[in-house]
């Protein structure tokens, strides 16, 4: 939400993929360091064992220091490899979301400046209570996010929001860019946060905007469905429809997403 609620956004998919590759390479490099450290440790242990009690005594600190370094390297190598996977997943999610919204908008003849919206969601009526993300601070998969969007849309329609103002692909695009699908995302860096209003949840709403646009019974900003409900109501109030949100329009025009 630009200005009032969320930060701006830009990304180069290729650069993000490159970053993932750099991270993977770094992980492999540290893994090699861990292996060498383990080999050095084995060498010192072997030499100490063959060198009698004086050597064993003298090697005690060395062995401890080497063991510590080896363990740190091993843990770090695994962490970097995991980071690389997360970055690659993030890049994929951006590409998929952008391709999806382009396809949806093209299919319905929408586009820049259109208030007609892209195809509304399907008619499914999912559960009314949304679960919190099972793994806090982790991005949910696209299917899970779509499920939350559908649950929110069902509630929004039940509260009088016309279906043609709702666009699953557009909301998915916003979520992927704003929080990478992490319902527990909380921005502690941008201008909103500096002003004392951290952006929170899937659609990165600030508290005041969330309070203004939440629906009764859906007042948990970190609940993914509640957050989507408030974020969508805010977006429609400000831009008329989801497909008219600047970032969604920009992507539909082949440009880059911008914050809303």
């Amino acid at each position: 939400m630009n200005g009032s609620s969320c930060g701006g956004y830009e990304v180069d998919d290729a650069a993000l993929t490159g970053l993932s590759e750099s991270w993977a390479k770094g992980g492999a490099e540290i893994s090699a360091v861990a292996q060498t450290a383990a080999a050095v440790l084995a060498k010192v242990r072997g030499a100490a064992d063959g060198g009698g009690s004086t050597a064993q005594f003298a090697a005690t600190d060395t062995i401890a220091a080497l063991a510590r370094a080896g363990q740190s390297a091993l843990a770090l190598a695994g962490a970097l490899a995991q980071d690389a996977q997360g970055l690659a997943q993030c890049a994929r999610a951006y590409r998929e979301a952008e391709a999806c919204v382009k396809q949806r908008i093209d299919a319905t003849g929408g586009g820049a400046g259109s208030n007609q919206g892209s195809a509304p969601r399907g008619g499914q009526r999912p559960n009314t209570s949304a679960p919190r993300a099972q793994a806090p601070s982790e991005p949910a998969g696209t299917e899970q996010v779509q499920d939350w969007i559908n649950q929110a849309f069902a509630i929004l329609e039940a509260n009088g929001v016309p279906a043609d103002q709702l666009d699953e692909a557009g909301v998915l695009l916003i979520i992927e860019h704003e929080s990478s699908g992490n319902p527990d995302a909380e921005n502690d860096w941008d201008s909103n946060w500096q002003a004392g209003h951290a952006s929170k949840g899937l659609m990165q709403c600030i508290d005041t905007t969330f309070d203004e646009f939440q629906l009764p019974g859906h007042g948990d900003i970190f609940n993914p469905v509640d957050n989507i409900i408030a974020g969508v109501r805010y977006a429609i109030s400000r831009y008329g429809s989801i497909s008219n949100v600047p970032g969604v329009r920009a992507v539909a025009d082949g440009g880059e997403y911008v914050g809303y």
């Binding site: 969320c6 930060g7 701006g8 956004y9 830009e10 990304v11 180069d12 650069a15 993000l16 490159g18 970053l19 750099s22 991270w23 390479k25 770094g26 490099e29 540290i30 360091v33 060498t36 450290a37 050095v40 060498k43 010192v44 072997g46 030499a47 100490a48 063959g50 060198g51 009698g52 009690s53 004086t54 050597a55 003298a58 090697a59 600190d61 060395t62 401890a64 220091a65 080497l66 510590r68 370094a69 740190s72 390297a73 770090l76 962490a79 970097l80 980071d83 970055l87 860019h177 704003e178 929080s179 990478s180 992490n182 995302a185 921005n187 502690d188 860096w189 941008d190 990165q204 914050g259």
Partner: protein, 91 residues
């Protein structure tokens, strides 16, 4: 005297070789990885909440990498110190 000869042999007969140098080289290698990752992250034109979360996360990794450089330098120093102690003891 036998124990001292064994200990002296431990450090002098090449059983430890230049392990201190090898560990120092590893520390340099990790420092280079840290510089590479910091540079790579800084070059990506990526903004927004997800990017900010990543950069905060990456900062923790940079600290851990710096910690590993420190650990490896400590290990290199420990090897050197061990070799000095045993050499002096055996001399």
């Amino acid at each position: 005297m036998s124990l001292l000869r064994d200990a002296h042999g431990f450090v002098e007969a090449g059983s430890c070789g230049d392990l201190s140098g090898e560990l120092a080289a590893l520390a340099d290698r990790v420092a280079a990885v840290k510089a590479e990752l910091t540079g790579a992250a800084g070059r990506v034109p990526w903004g927004g909440s997800a990017a900010e979360a990543f950069h905060a996360h990456a900062a923790v990794r940079y600290e851990t990498l710096a910690g590993l450089v420190h650990d490896l330098s400590d290990a290199a120093a420990a090897v050197k110190s061990m070799q000095c102690v045993v050499s002096e003891f055996a001399a």
